[in-house]
């Protein structure tokens, strides 16, 4: 049995036609199912567990990167197959998973090419897309073997799981697609901030890792899958083969 989790923003009229076309195609494939609309305060974990109890075998997330991160960061521990139908503008993860935007995504879902994916683990919760620490005075220890610091002081840290890391430097745009099997940390020290009143970043330092400890004397903000919290010390790990996901042939890993 298929259960479809629709994000709240899909209520907007501009998505109506795509959703209708998707629902028709899913009915044609014989994989149409119950539709649940996610609200801001819906607990994804409880919802998914409840649906599993009622007999759901596949949970399909319908929305964008934020929806994907919101659901899976809470429900990654649930033992069920996940699918994804990307709708909307902000859909970088779908590209990594090889799932096309809109109606064509139904073909990928119907083919059921399943793969186990790794997810990030930070202070007892999962993160799916990215972890972001804005420029802060942080020190980082990798795999209990080496420490990384900056000569300029503040550093920005981005840890990518499924969402690609994009930065512009020397008039060029760089895109790094993270590979499955490890986490990639992108560190960007702030070069100038006072003169131009704007943070200028150095080209990023890249470190693949299995475990990382980020600490600071003062609390620093941590953003994971749309949730922001203030921490003094965080441990980031890779949870191997945590979720079973329907992926496309053109996936990036």
């Amino acid at each position: 049995m298929y259960v479809y989790l629709y994000d709240n923003f899909l209520k907007q009229k501009r998505h109506e036609s795509v959703l209708k076309a998707m629902e028709t195609k899913l009915t044609d494939y014989g994989i149409a199912g119950k539709i649940i609309r996610l609200q801001h305060y819906t607990s994804a974990e409880l919802l998914v567990e409840d649906e599993i109890r009622k007999g759901a075998k596949t949970i399909v997330i319908v929305g964008d990167d934020t929806t994907f991160g919101h659901v899976l960061s809470r429900a990654a521990s649930c033992k069920v197959t996940y699918g994804f139908l990307p709708v909307g503008q902000d859909n970088a993860i779908a590209q990594v998973l090889g799932i096309p935007l809109g109606v064509e995504a139904c073909d990928v879902l119907a083919r059921r090419r399943k793969l186990r994916l790794d997810v990030g683990w930070v202070n007892n919760r999962y993160f799916i897309s990215q972890l972001h620490i804005p420029p802060s005075n942080i020190s980082i220890e990798y795999d209990e073997s080496f420490k990384v610091s900056s000569t300029t002081g503040k550093m920005e840290l981005v840890v990518c799981n499924l969402k690609p890391f994009i930065w512009t430097g020397k008039g060029k745009q760089y895109v790094v697609h993270p590979q499955d099997g490890k986490l990639e940390a992108f560190l960007r020290p702030v070069v100038k901030s006072k003169i131009l009143r704007k943070d200028l970043f150095e080209a990023p330092s890249i470190f693949p890792f299995a475990e990382m400890v980020v600490s600071s004397r003062t609390p620093f903000p941590v953003e994971t899958d749309g949730k922001v919290s203030k921490e003094v010390k965080i441990t980031i790990k890779l949870a191997k083969s945590r979720i079973e996901m329907v992926v496309g042939k053109d996936r990036k890993f």
């Binding site: 080496f146 990384v148 610091s149 900056s150 790094v176 560190l187 960007r188 150095e202 080209a203 693949p208």
Partner: protein, 156 residues
């Protein structure tokens, strides 16, 4: 009108790809790494590393970068400074701005004019015949000749 080309710019024969997709680990210019640092993929050092560096693939130390410990790599291009022993499985390339203070072990060594190297260089695959066995043969033949001469003299 046109300035004569007085300076020959040295370009390493290995083209280290600057495409971020192919580089596994990058240590940026204002980043300091303290401790032993190992990677399975290519390493590009632009900053400072105070600890052993190890990779099975290509290590690139850019101009201005510093490594203050031993280095082990599959291949290496050094344009910065290394204070420690360098052990490379295949090819080690020292560009014009390279400074190495330590012993070097490699299979192929390329040194550009201007590179500074202070230490013992050991290279695998040397097949120069030893001189001592030939000398022994020569001396034994001489001895044999001497003995035969003595015998002929005695017969006479």
């Amino acid at each position: 009108m046109f300035k004569p080309n007085t300076e020959e710019s040295y370009t390493p024969s290995y083209n280290h790809s600057t495409q971020p997709d192919e580089v596994e680990t990058v240590v940026g210019p204002s980043v300091v790494v303290e401790g032993d640092f190992a990677s399975e993929g290519n390493i590009l050092v632009k900053g400072t590393v105070s600890g052993n560096v190890q990779t099975g693939k290509l290590l690139t130390v850019e101009r201005g970068a510093k490594i203050l410990a031993n280095v082990k790599a599959g291949n290496a291009i050094i344009s910065g400074s290394v204070r420690g022993n360098v052990r490379v499985e295949e090819r080690l390339e020292l560009t014009e701005s390279a400074q190495v203070d330590g012993d070097v072990v490699c299979k192929i060594l390329v040194v550009a004019a201007g590179a500074l190297l202070q230490g013992k260089v050991s290279m695998k695959g040397i097949e120069i015949q030893e001189l001592h066995p030939d000398r022994k043969k020569l001396s034994s033949r001489n001895k044999f000749k001497l003995a035969s001469d003595v015998e002929s003299e005695e017969n006479q």
